[in-house]
Amino acid sequence: MTTEPWQDGVYAALKDAGVRQVGYVPDAGHSRLIDRSHADPEMTAVVLTTEEEGVAMAAGAHLGGSRAVLLMQSSGVGNTINMLSLPIHCRMPLFTLVTMRGEWGEFNPWQVPMGSSTGPVLQAAGVHIRRAERADEVVELVAASARLAYDCAIPVAVLLSQRLIGAKVWVK
């Protein structure tokens, strides 16, 4: 996957926001952030087996005076729902970047159900949603949303649209 300039801008925005832990379930759309996180001695990157682990890890980071971000794909959002009660009830920040599937030029029909319900499900669970559609807005949107999450101690998800990420290309 090619690296777009905005991906390094997003990484810089996370660092500027004080993020020092990155929990992730791999996704091609997050691969640049994952690589940067592992290469950065100031950052601790943790590969997760399932997305709700990252919600709990972020809570632990907050208890210890640090900041974590959760990187996941829209299909993983459904795994996090009950664990979201942790930051919401405990008045903790949660900041997550969600790469969207099942919307723009999707090839795999199995991605469509969770992709369609990602936003409504997060909102129903009490998470504040922001959505990035264009490369020229995403860095600023991530920076502002990170402030909202960490400074106001609320859960915030930035949905990175599939049009922005680029639809996955399948070659036989």
Partner: protein, 200 residues
């Protein structure tokens, strides 16, 4: 055959032992995260303290909260105390935490082979699952099973110095309920204050 048939340890005695002299921990007061259900009550009954973070929900999340905390506070020691049911719901975190290789995080799983909170239904550990074996298979270098109080006493300093997984077999007997604070915002604020984290 229920592999817990000979387990007679009292859960309150076990947790009181694990949390004795918490100041006697490298780096300062032991940081404790407890799992939803009985281990939260056990830790509260051993003596409420700001460095205890009790889960009253978020089942399956105790060990991962411990990981985030251990990464954030590398000079402090973190001990997760949870039950077999809570650990079973977060089995993947055994692999995640082993892979993350944090030297300052240990976990003690109180195993009564039951979902005691919901009516004593048998859990997987009473039906053949071995959590310590799973921990080893996930990459924990030290994973032990403890069945008597002298061994629990011997475990206490190790849980504060190693990256240790321990299953402690306990009696499934009910004990008197003890309810520590359950307001999560309060628990969070006082925990951070005890660590000297400035409020935002």
């Amino acid at each position: 055959m229920n592999n817990l048939a000979n387990a007679l340890l009292d859960r309150r005695q076990v947790v009181a032992s694990l949390l004795r002299d918490t100041a006697d921990t490298p780096g300062g007061e032991l940081l404790v995260v407890t799992g939803l259900g009985s281990t939260t009550y056990d830790a509260g009954a051993a003596g409420d303290r700001p460095e205890n973070f009790y889960l009253w929900g978020a089942m399956g999340g105790a060990l991962m909260i411990g990981l985030g905390l251990a990464i954030a506070q590398p000079k402090r020691r973190v001990l997760v105390i949870t039950g077999d049911g809570e650990m079973l719901m977060g089995l993947g975190s055994l692999a995640t935490v082993a892979a993350a290789k944090r030297p300052n995080l240990s976990i003690a799983v109180l195993d009564n082979g039951q979902f005691a909170e919901t009516g004593h239904q048998s859990s997987h550990t009473a039906l053949g699952a071995d959590l310590a074996a799973m921990a080893r298979a996930c990459g924990w270098s030290a994973a032990e099973i403890v069945t008597d109080m002298p061994s629990v006493e011997a475990l206490r300093p190790r849980l504060r110095r190693e990256a240790l997984f321990a299953t402690i077999r306990i009696s499934p007997e009910d004990v008197t309920r003890f309810l520590p604070p359950r307001d999560g915002a309060y628990l969070t604020t006082r925990f951070r204050a005890a660590l000297g984290v400035a409020p935002s």
